[in-house]
Symmetry: D3
Subunit: 185 residues, 6 copies
């Protein structure tokens, strides 16, 4: 039953507008038990807009889709294109890996990983976003496949990443996985 009208300055592309109405509909439905059929969201473009004593001629930029930023980063990591991967990172970037290992650079990560496995490859089951205003947190989980340092292959090992995106850049990555569970076995 909710009808949501979003008033925007003109100029947003179709993809951004679709993202807006889809997300707002999902959010409204997270609060009220209303079915999709009864949930209406639309965008109205204003002709002229004034707030804070200023007349605005165009709206603020659209954010990139946070999970797409994350996917591009993870893809670059997978391809060992550290330069490209670096381009998605905020200057304050920090990672936290199983065992509570805290790293700040991709170089550190590469070194550390060499003590854990010979090769690794992530397969993603799902990317999920938590919209928190100034930041969007992307969670992705799935399974790891690769080879142990001793050359034995492994696969189907569970992992989850928590990756925080702010203004289009990744500020933090936290990783949990079952590698130790399986290494033990």
């Amino acid at each position: 039953m909710p009808v949501v009208s979003i008033t925007l300055l003109p100029g947003y592309d179709t993809a951004t507008q679709h993202r807006m109405v889809n997300r707002v509909a999902q959010t409204v439905r997270s609060v009220i038990a209303t079915p999709e059929a009864g949930t209406t969201v639309f965008i109205q473009e204003v002709s002229t807009y004034r707030r804070d004593a200023k007349v605005f001629s165009e709206g603020r930029a659209a954010h990139p889709v946070a999970s797409e930023v994350v996917q591009a980063f993870l893809q670059a990591m997978q391809e060992r294109d550290l330069k490209k991967a670096q381009s998605f990172l905020h200057t304050d970037f920090r990672m936290c890996f199983p065992g509570g290992v805290i790293l700040h650079t991709l170089a550190e990560l590469t070194t550390w990983a060499q003590s854990r496995y010979a090769t690794i490859r992530k397969q993603y089951d799902q990317f999920e976003e938590s919209w928190q205003g100034d930041a969007t947190v992307v969670f992705c989980h799935g399974t790891l496949a690769g080879t142990w340092l001793n050359g034995q292959p492994f696969q189907g090992i569970r992992f989850i990443d928590r990756i925080q995106v702010q203004d289009g850049l990744i500020t933090r990555q936290d990783v949990w996985n079952d590698l130790a569970e399986h290494r033990q076995a």
Copy 2:
């Protein structure tokens, strides 16, 4: 600059209305780089509402806050109040624990846990919600403290839970943690 008007049937309590405007503002800001100061969200209550050939006299129920459902469940688990914990679970509930162990009942969980540690206690750093329409997924991460089976204490061991809530009931819990990392050490 976005101005969002949400039209609802009257009858929602203040907390639900606040939740609605806060979440919608956060969601809008996840799409457009607009500051809080330029983001306006308000609720208008209609006097009469008709859709799908029906005139509605009141809106659909508000969902409970998913992270509060999760917190109450985890609190009951902590207190070993399995009956109360059970009351938060959907009939199709299933858990997945480190090592890919899949369980369906709290009794199974209790048994399985006895092979892992003597006692355990979770300390939560953060609860985060992903609003997905029909379901809300709650992620919580923090640290574990407790005693190993051999009586040695442990603490500060990282964990993350992914808990899916549908219509106020938990349908799925996925758990990752660093216990194996530390057991190994």
Copy 3:
């Protein structure tokens, strides 16, 4: 897909508001091939309203439902309560009956009818309204039963009335029926 917001001054009773949203939904659907599921109409009550240099404190009266006015009139006629029937008629009322007979008073009608049949009773299949702004025209059709002047009974004879209602009073009634078809037989 149309979303219709009707802004009214407060004070209209529930029945009037329901009538409003139902009629407007039907009307919108007479223009666009939109299904009921996609048609939303709601009423918003304003707090203060100004037009034509006047601030209004309450809205104009609701009209009575024209087909209910007509039904009450026809019921009074059926019961030969001419005084009550008269109360529904505008001072400029005029009737037109089969054969093009034009009458202005219920007394004339009674006299004229005596040359046509001994008794008559209308059974209504349907009342339909045509909303025309200053006037609403009510069409009702169904069948006549009664006895001819010669005492023979008749029934199932088709009729239709076109009755014009203005400001809650009937200004004109036009009647067509198949009595002559059957009298001939």
Copy 4:
């Protein structure tokens, strides 16, 4: 005093939009005794619209004007262009004529009419529409002129048609007239 805002997807032509605002104004005024001067109706076009989990890029088709469909059908009948007349008819079309004669095809009608009069021509006083959501019912009344089977001319004989239009096609035509009244005389 009512202010009606109709939110539509863009793309409707001017004639459809005018029809929409005119009809909705008339309908609103059928419920509340508000003068034209105090009745405001406008159309706002949305930029993006989502309902029922779908983002729509264009609105549903406009219906043809039901009374224009009826006029075109009646015109084709007048001109004995049965093929064209047929094109306006729904496959479930049925007619009901004075005396309760029920027909299903224009051929049947032609045959039946030959037993009633030699020629006939309708002159229309008024077309009136009843907007009923899924269907619009058109009432037209006026007078008949023509020649009886015996070659005598007639004219000024009252008739009314009730014609039901659904999705642009005529599903039902009911006819009443005074031919029998006059044949008797």
Copy 5:
């Protein structure tokens, strides 16, 4: 033709709401040559309102009517109730009188006036407001009557005051009049 919807938090009294719609209508008509009949302004009260990351439970206070503040001040001056008059003045108050005389206190004014006339009384033809956002400037003009220092009476002498009101307090008063024109004569 303009339709202005003003969305406010609930709680404003009727007088404030009327002032709001009346002023906004006048302002709109200062920009577009629209007649009163075609100018609609209404207030909608929101149920919940959020901006700048805060949910507001009530709106900002209404300003007193600036010309009423000015009238009360001028009335107190007329009645030589300097204490009351002082209560309408901002701490930064300053006056400017004919000849460019600048004064800061009512005591100074009393002294200065004694060199100009024995008694004085203002008769107001009109109060007019200029709405400038942070301040409202009230202009009042009319005629002065009184007695010169030499005991001769005078009357009908033109004056105009420009009085600036900020947050309900008078920050500045500028006075022009024709006293010198007449003293000369």
Copy 6:
């Protein structure tokens, strides 16, 4: 906290739209103590608009900015371009000058002024508008410089004009100044 939506027919130029939102924001803030940051005004253009039984295809003309009309008039007067100055005057124009001198034509003014000073030049400190619906009153104040009839120069002499503008033409000018104060000295 007020959010003002102004619904207009399309076709107004940017400058008019900016003037509209700026003025309405100032006016709203003259009633409620809301800061600029919390004051939102926007214009929505309708696709089709109907009132008073008419569908409008374009809005009423924008008024010229009253203070610009006044400035152009005053500039023409300064330049002794009486023909141009005359073009800004309503046929019912009348002036009122210090001493209560009432004049109707610019020629009268020129003659009268010759008895007061040899030359004069106005320097404007501020133009302020009072929006009154059918009329806008422009107040301008500042200082006069010039030469007395005896050839002595003067400057810095205070003045204020009250100039009433209706439909783009000046209907009335009232002037107060301190010339007499200084002539006396």
